[in-house]
């Protein structure tokens, strides 16, 4: 009796799960098409992430760095990185190097860097939002400001 119940539940959950997934997929595809044809392009032009991509490429070449993620707006470049475990002794020095390199590379940007885990997660989230949902620049600026404030907190 119990086994049958489980079987039924199992089948139902699979059916419903898959059905929903397909629906989601279709929706996202639709979204994709709509945004492609309408407003998204202007938004993209405002927020092209070439600077962020370049920065990620440059910093991830460093031997001490494990993972990098970056987001940029017109004026600001937010970059978060993770340092390999045994290199954490040299955290301050690495931070200085990264900052110097980025400021040389992007003199017109206001560069914000952080090696904090929280900042890394948040930047990743922001990047995902940017590429998927296409939030506008004002919102991104607000988020970056918030993260900058967060990274400067000490206690």
């Amino acid at each position: 009796m119990l086994k049958k119940l489980f079987l039924v539940l199992f089948i139902f959950s699979i059916l419903f799960g898959c059905a929903k997934e397909k629906e989601n997929q279709q929706q996202s595809l639709q979204n994709f098409n709509i945004t492609r044809t309408s407003t998204k392009e202007t938004a993209d032009a405002h927020l092209n992430q070439t600077a962020a991509k370049q920065a990620v490429q440059r910093i991830s070449q460093k031997r001490e760095v494990k993972d990098v993620v970056a987001v940029n707006t017109k004026k600001k470049l937010l970059l978060a990185y993770q340092v390999k475990h045994l290199q954490r002794f040299r955290m301050k020095q690495i931070e200085k190097e990264v900052k110097e390199e980025l400021e040389n590379l992007f003199p017109d940007y206001d560069v914000i860097i952080s090696s904090d885990m929280k900042l890394f997660w948040k930047t990743e989230e922001l990047k995902r939002k940017l590429s998927k949902d296409g939030i506008n620049e004002k919102e991104v600026n607000k988020q970056i400001k918030k993260l900058e404030k967060l990274s400067n907190e000490l206690t």
């Binding site: 904090d116 885990m117 907190e153």
Partner: protein, 160 residues
């Protein structure tokens, strides 16, 4: 016992000392170390999980997550002491449960429980920080000395 002290003893006392040393049960030093390492490490893993919890669900960074994590760990150990679980852990782990910050919570609450019968003011209030008081005092003092050394090194030694 130190060798100099043993010279002052009478021959009979020395003989007894050897006799006693032979029959004394040995402290299981290695086993205690392993237990302390494992349980202390486990406590630290829990602490790390708590700090990741705060970082993930609230606006704390790696820099700022220390305070709420320590507060939570002390709070948990206080509750465990109150319901009598922490004593058992301490019996098993020894220093492994006393050295992490959870030992502080245990020291406060166990003293409070012990002196509860003497009343709230002169019992609990006066004796609560009997052991933890020295932790606070020497912790603050050590922090002061370290800050002093660091300041001197940075100001005059050109360090940092």
């Amino acid at each position: 016992m130190a060798n100099e002290k043993r010279k002052n003893l009478t021959p009979v006392q020395q003989e007894y000392h050897l006799f006693e040393k032979e029959r004394e049960t040995k402290r299981p030093l290695f086993k205690n170390c392993v237990r302390a390492f494992l349980v202390g490490g486990l406590i630290c893993v829990i602490g790390q999980a708590v700090s990741y919890f705060y970082m993930y669900f609230f606006d704390f960074t790696e820099q700022t997550v220390g305070n709420p994590t320590v507060a939570t760990m002390v709070f948990i150990s206080m509750i465990l002491t109150g319901i009598g679980v922490y004593d058992r852990i301490a019996q098993f782990a020894g220093a492994g449960s006393a050295v992490p910050v959870t030992g502080f919570g245990n020291a406060v609450i166990s003293a409070a429980i012990e002196h509860r019968t003497e009343g709230f003011v002169l019992g609990v209030g006066a004796n609560m920080f009997k052991l933890a008081g020295s932790v606070i005092l020497f912790g603050t003092f050590a922090a002061f000395v370290v800050a002093l050394v660091k300041t001197i090194l940075i100001q005059w030694g050109g360090l940092g």
